[in-house]
């Protein structure tokens, strides 16, 4: 549906040229919710604006629904933009127009008659749950309601694509949830392709099918949300995920020296990641039964779900003879669980602190 080929964007700024995007390649399939995550200044807002040519790329091609956007004339481009809805962080509603007129705005631009506008706007008001607010002005609405108006307005032209530029960043967590649920809902109902720009991993986790992590104008990592979440490769990705899924050691071990060699009175800490149907396999119980002489202490555990796929993360501490520990590691290596060896760490004595 959307194909970005070799997108470059260079800005002239007083302090010299700024290379905002450096050869972005991205393909987004029809009906997908594609997340683009990055820190501020990473280039994600520029990238999403290249899709509807609010920013013209310095080089590269933008293919939307088979059409190369970079070669269109101004009037062809205006026509093409009507099939790409966009919502914004600060909603960008007309303060001088009512909710109804804001949603009708794109239709009025196309010269649609009042009766046809009414036929279009009423169901949209219904869809976003604002039928009773039709005659109010944006200043009388809450942030979440304003974004609902923004969504209805973006849908008025029956677009094939919805671009969401930090659409929930100005909203509180609860409102964010409801707006994301609405986006997901319209994605399903209207089989709309959705591009979500955000700096919040929670947004990606909640609604996206795929994600691209953008950093310094390049895509650092991409893939299905499940893959990227359970097996992040790039440091920046790990950092984004760590906001949701803490990588810290349990309090009793935090800050203590981690050694790859055995030290007296220490535990060998392992991080175990269970995925999918295996998340509820009794792997640890089997290990304890199979490997005599190894003690296993559960130090941290968390069971989450990404798009319905169970996803468990545990930290366990092993103690016992070297041979027994090696035996246990070998056993785990043969099971369907990902094992990451953290190292030998001493447990702080909470009594003396």
């Amino acid at each position: 549906m959307i194909k970005l080929i070799g997108i470059e964007k260079v800005y002239d700024s007083p302090s010299g040229k700024v290379h905002a995007l450096k050869g972005i390649e991205l393909e987004i399939a029809r009906g997908e919710i594609y997340g683009i995550i990055g820190l501020s200044g990473a280039g994600k807002s520029t990238l999403v604006r290249c899709i509807n040519m609010l920013e013209r790329p310095t080089a590269g091609k933008v293919i939307v629904d088979g059409q190369d956007m970079t070669t269109l004339t101004e009037s062809e481009l205006r026509q093409a933009r009507k099939s790409i809805g966009m919502i914004f962080q600060h909603f960008n509603l007309l303060s001088s127009a009512t909710v109804y007129d804001n949603i009708a705005f794109p239709l009025k631009l196309s010269g649609t008659g009042a009766a046809d506008i009414e036929k279009k706007v009423r169901p949209l008001l219904e869809l976003v749950g604002l039928s009773d607010k039709a005659n109010q002005y944006p200043s009388q609405l809450s942030g979440g309601q304003k974004q609902r108006v923004g969504i209805a307005r973006a849908l008025a032209n029956d677009p094939k694509i919805l671009l969401c530029d930090e659409a929930t960043s100005a909203l509180d967590p609860q409102t964010t949830k409801s707006i994301l649920a609405l986006i997901k809902d319209i994605n399903k109902k209207l089989s709309l392709t959705v591009v979500v720009i955000t700096h919040e991993m929670q947004v990606i986790k909640d609604i996206c099918d795929k994600v691209a992590v953008i950093s310094n104008g390049v895509i650092a990592e991409r893939g299905s949300v499940l893959d990227v979440f359970t097996n992040p490769k790039h440091d920046i990705t790990k950092e984004f995920i760590s906001v949701l899924l803490s990588n810290d050691l349990p309090a009793a071990f935090r800050g203590n020296e981690i050694s790859q060699d055995r030290t007296p009175d220490s535990y060998l800490l392992l991080r175990l990641i269970f995925l999918g149907d295996r998340a509820d396999d009794p792997v640890l119980a089997k290990m304890i039964r199979a490997c005599k002489g190894v003690e296993c202490t559960m130090l941290f555990g968390n069971l989450d779900e990404i798009h319905g796929v169970p996803f468990g993360r545990f930290i366990v501490g092993l103690s016992g003879e070297d041979a027994a520990i090696n035996n246990a590691l070998n056993f785990l290596g043969g099971e369907e669980v990902r094992v990451e060896v953290i190292g030998y760490v001493r447990r702080s004595s909470t009594a003396t602190e």
Binding site: R78, Q79, S96, L109
Partner: protein, 217 residues
């Protein structure tokens, strides 16, 4: 005494209102589009054109830097060409219009600058043409500000029209000078000042009321 001053006063008020209203209508018809031009051709705006922007901008600044009394005399040939005479109430309208156009232009430009750039971007994302952005986004959104600014221009016009007496334009200012000052009639002076104060208050009140009603922010 009062019976004698009243006809003078009402005639002068009529002349002032005539000069202000006609000047305001003509000057707005040119000044508002000028303000739109100044705003939309500026850097980063929808019709960015630095050459036009700077040329028009310097022209506007040049006219605005001429004191009204001098402008009035300096353009006498133009006035004579346009209205056939360089003296009288209608002749005074020409310099009033010329002085007000750049004033309105700058005021409208200031109001348009207040419209958040995001709104323009949103309209562009919906495929709006530059003309639609101006007529359906910029002007409606800036309207409360523009009304307030135009109110200021009207009040400035009331003041400038007082100088129109210098070219036989008549009006309240002229009455105050000729009767109140030159003929030593302080009561005429006082009456004129009271009428001017009431007039300005009224204009400001109406302007504020309209601006407030338009403002949905």
């Amino acid at each position: 005494m009062f019976a004698e001053v009243l006809p003078l006063l009402s005639k002068a008020l009529g002349e002032t209102v005539y000069m202000v209203v006609v000047s305001m209508v003509i000057a707005s018809a040119i000044g508002v589009p000028l303000g739109v031009l100044l705003h939309t051709t500026a850097k980063g705006q929808i019709l960015e054109n630095i050459f036009i922007n700077q040329t028009v901008g310097s022209f506007v600044n040049a006219i605005r830097s001429i004191p009204f009394i001098i402008l009035m005399v300096a353009i006498i040939p133009l006035t004579r060409f346009l209205v056939g005479s360089a003296i009288g109430t209608t002749a005074a309208i020409v310099p009033l219009v010329i002085a007000s156009i750049p004033f309105i232009g700058r005021q409208v430009e200031t109001s348009l600058k207040e419209v958040p750039a995001g709104l323009v971007e949103a309209a562009q994302s919906m495929g709006a043409t530059p003309f639609q952005i101006i007529s359906r986004v910029l002007l409606p959104e800036a309207m409360p500000g523009i009304v307030s600014q135009l109110t200021t221009v009207i009040i400035a016009l009331v003041g400038e029209s007082a100088m129109a007496g210098a070219i036989g334009g008549g009006g309240l200012g002229d009455l105050a000078i000729r009767y109140g000052y030159q003929r030593f009639r302080p009561e005429v002076m006082l009456a004129t000042v009271v009428v001017l104060i009431v007039l300005v208050q009224l204009v400001q009140f109406i302007g504020n009321t309209i601006a407030k009603r338009l403002d949905k922010r």
